[in-house]
Symmetry: C2
Subunit: 531 residues, 2 copies
């Protein structure tokens, strides 16, 4: 792992900057595209090779060892279209880690989402750390079109139609059915998934309760769609990023007003050639960065905002490499650290002083390695850009999540929801018309959750995605667990000495639910045997 | 309606005799194919034009009037592949019959199955007769590839891949979502379906509980698949046909042993040229029927058996045209009538006397019009043959129902289950390999039913399909209702003076469940409004 592969604007942060800038300029979609790409890129990084590290000493969330060595890599022939038996097939990759399995045990099944499944294998501590107690065989199933489960090889982009949530769920159902027969293990199956994987996991339980006995869904923004029985809260993402920067979340009291002021300051400087030059210098942008028009300033603002979006998701209580693709480490509570640089009172005529301090804030994220002398805004293209594209396809074709920014309840600038622009973007990129009601038509929102069972939703109040997560119980068995002070699916990670009491309690509650699902399975099995 | 369209072996009885005979000869699939085609053909007849009739006088189940005049025929543009947004579209037909709707009412939604939806519109009395009490708008949705909802026009057979249960269910989900928005009616939706429509209806509730609030599933053989948690009872269909012919079901005590003896008698006669000639004459087969080999005799036996299969399904307590495609009328309890002809003791050497009497039995079904002088075994091809083909495609591609006949627990000859032969048949017909576990993988069998809610399964013990229906409650809201003395989804039909107390009680119980689902919906709606 060298820094040559780690530009200042690394692959984790900006998976597909070309596309992003295009969108920013062409469609003005700052507000919508940002979280989408964020969402995609956080889960699409590559090269997450383990960093050798002394966990107890530094309490950094990096993979303590390469867990792949404890698993067998396998491939399974799947029908690309489960609803058309004559369709072509592809090879779905999965890992089986069987060291802890005991008869009478369980299958822990990672419901793969939009990245190489090795990432989830190496980071889902909740599965590894409970394996022995449950006598669990661990299975990590890769999502079609990601990692090594890409159909059609280099021609994949010509065959995007097989990339859908329904096909991915059917893959999992067929794979589990096969595994139980192949291993001759009639055992309960417990699903785990984070973020999009958490949505997939809960939908999997809702649609296939006979295949999966219960699901732990970490930070699943499953209520982020149009057409549900109550109106969608479209502004929650940036509102929660802003919460992370507030005094209530431990940040400096001046942080939110100061950051809000930076946008006006940048806009004002952006109006003149001289001002843009000053802006570039004050923010420590590299010479190569083009800041020659007001539109270029928009791109800079979006780039700056992204830092806070990511730091919000990665606002963990200990230093963590998770948001940084394992390449570098964010400090504990990075938003607090970033805010500490803009904690002062800046005079009304000291925009330059404010922006200079803001540049330091951005460095928490964009110069986490502390060895960059200036900021680049673009990154080299790599595999994660492809993952990001594929995520974008799913977003356009099935799970369109509208967002808005109002600049009042959040610390950014107002960008109202614009369906037309979003739709034009999907059309130009994929030739796809967004079906705004599809996700709720297919997966159901709140009403379907009331009909469901055996799903644990966990959300941290520091996680920007938690605003469209499940925060209240729907029933005794579809429950919401709150990780006070937790960021993006903190509970799924490996244990850390700096874990808060809240995340420990949530993990314990998750374990109790898992035990209950296992009991239900074996009690039913005994009852059938006695019939 | 003239008899020119009603050959002795009419379209209802033998939708695709060419294919059937081919199968009989080529693959020896008597046992499997028969019920499958039965299943298909019963639900695929056409020309079900109303017969003018005085219901009170004769108590015949024919459509009392053409109910189409009370409905608007409409078409809706559906994506052919809901899981691939870029797929082509087709026009799905549906009817809205809005006369009885009242604000605060409900949508009764017929979950269309494998025939022109006009058939179900004209026969589903349970929907019509409850419409006023529930203030219900009636919607009858046609299943893709049937009736007027056929994509690609004459080229449809080149595009079979879009015919699947999952796509059909998604059609219904999208259509209902559209209707509720278009009509601005936020109302509960209650589904109705019979036979395959009952399976689809229950799967619809299981997969889309947010779209459909409850389902009445009449005679749905939803447990007829491999891979469930208890072994499949493959022999139940012919066992129940045999039960219908037994003393316990009101038939003559000698019927079962006599019918069992006919097969041996036919086989024996079939061994010689002289015997075959005698067989042909004794059974009153027309001159044009070819009985020149033992294989030809097999075809005759299968044809004879079919009569009992159909009469078993149509073993209603009053004269009914339902099984006869509305073209002619079967007597009340047709199996009893057929059995009455073979009620005597036939001497051990009187096979000819037995077969001559058996010929009269067959006439209950094959000469229901009482104007035929001999039996033909083939029918002219018509549209229903296409429906039958499409049903066969679904059977091969998704919902493979293995069957067997043992000749011990039933009154026929042993034909063990033969997966290889079934699979070869599907391969040669459609190029499809059967996925024997698919139906249970996708829809889940008993375990999924335990996780479901708000489904009423009704089954009559005279219905051969009831053996693989839901006969025991799975929970308080997934319940089994038994129609004592009822044949194929009797409870869904229009009321009749000869209805048994049992079917009246079942209809009343169904109504109570429907009221409960409506209450649940409006209580929840009020709770949301008050939140």
């Amino acid at each position: 792992m060298t820094h040559e592969t780690t530009p200042i604007l690394g692959t984790a942060q900006q998976a597909n900057p070309r596309r992003r800038q295009l969108l920013l300029v062409a469609a003005g979609l700052l507000h919508i595209v940002a979280p989408v790409l964020l969402f995609a890129t956080v889960f699409s990084w590559r090269d997450a090779a383990p960093v050798e590290f002394q966990l107890p000493a530094l309490n950094v969330d990096v993979t303590p060892t390469n867990l792949l060595t404890q698993c067998d890599e396998k491939f399974f022939t799947q029908t690309l279209d489960h609803f058309d038996v004559g369709a072509p097939t592809y090879q779905q990759r999965y890992f089986v880690c069987d060291k802890h399995y005991k008869p009478g045990g369980v299958m822990f099944f990672y419901v793969g989402n939009e990245a190489d499944v090795e990432l989830y294998l190496n980071h889902t501590g909740l599965m590894w750390e409970n394996a022995e107690e449950f006598g669990a065989m661990l299975v990590f199933a890769e999502h079609r079109y990601f990692g090594k489960s890409v159909p059609f090889g280099k021609d994949v982009m010509k065959h995007m139609k097989y990339l859908s949530t329904e096909q991915a769920l059917a893959d999992f159902a067929v794979l589990i059915t096969y595994l139980k027969n192949e291993w001759k293990r009639d055992i309960p199956v417990i699903g785990f998934g984070g973020s999009y994987g958490g949505m997939l996991g809960s939908w999997f339980r809702m649609k296939y309760p006979h295949i999966i006995d219960g699901v732990v869904a970490g930070s699943a923004p499953i209520l982020s769609f149009l057409g549900d029985e109550v109106p969608l809260d479209k502004g929650s993402f940036e509102r929660i990023v802003t919460f992370d920067a507030s005094e209530e979340a431990g940040s400096a009291p001046n942080c939110v007003p100061n950051i809000r002021r930076t946008w006006t300051a940048m806009k004002n400087l952006g109006k003149t050639k001289h001002g843009r030059k000053q802006l570039k210098k004050t923010l420590s942008l590299c010479d190569s960065v083009k800041v020659e028009s007001e539109k270029d300033v928009d791109v800079v603002m979006e780039w700056a905002k992204s830092a806070f979006d990511y730091m919000g998701m990665g606002n963990y209580p200990y230093p963590s490499s998770y948001i940084m693709n394992g390449v570098s480490v964010l400090p504990a509570f990075p938003v607090r650290v970033a805010c500490s640089y803009v904690a002062a009172d800046f005079a009304a005529d000291d925009d330059v002083g404010l922006l200079s301090a803001f540049s330091e804030s951005l460095g928490v994220y964009y110069n986490s390695t502390k060895d960059q002398e200036c900021y680049e805004l673009n990154a080299s293209s790599d595999e994660s850009a492809v993952d990001s594209d594929f995520w974008d396809y799913i977003f356009c074709s099935e799970i369109y999540q509208p967002q808005s920014v109002d600049g009042v309840n959040d610390m950014f600038w107002p960008v109202p929801w614009n369906f037309t622009a979003d739709n034009e973007n999907c059309k130009s990129e994929w030739g796809i018309e967004i079906r705004p009601l599809w996700a709720v038509t297919q997966y159901g929102g709140r009403k379907a959750l009331r009909a469901a069972s055996n799903i644990v939703f966990s959300n941290g109040n520091y996680d920007p995605w938690s605003g469209t997560g499940v925060l209240q119980n729907f029933s005794d068995s579809v429950v919401a667990l709150s990780v006070e002070g937790g960021a993006h699916h903190l509970d799924l990670m490996f244990s850390n000495k700096l874990d808060t009491p809240s995340v420990l309690a949530v993990r314990e509650a998750e374990k109790q639910h898992m035990h209950k699902w296992v009991r239900e399975f074996y009690e039913r099995k005994a009852a059938i045997a006695n019939e």
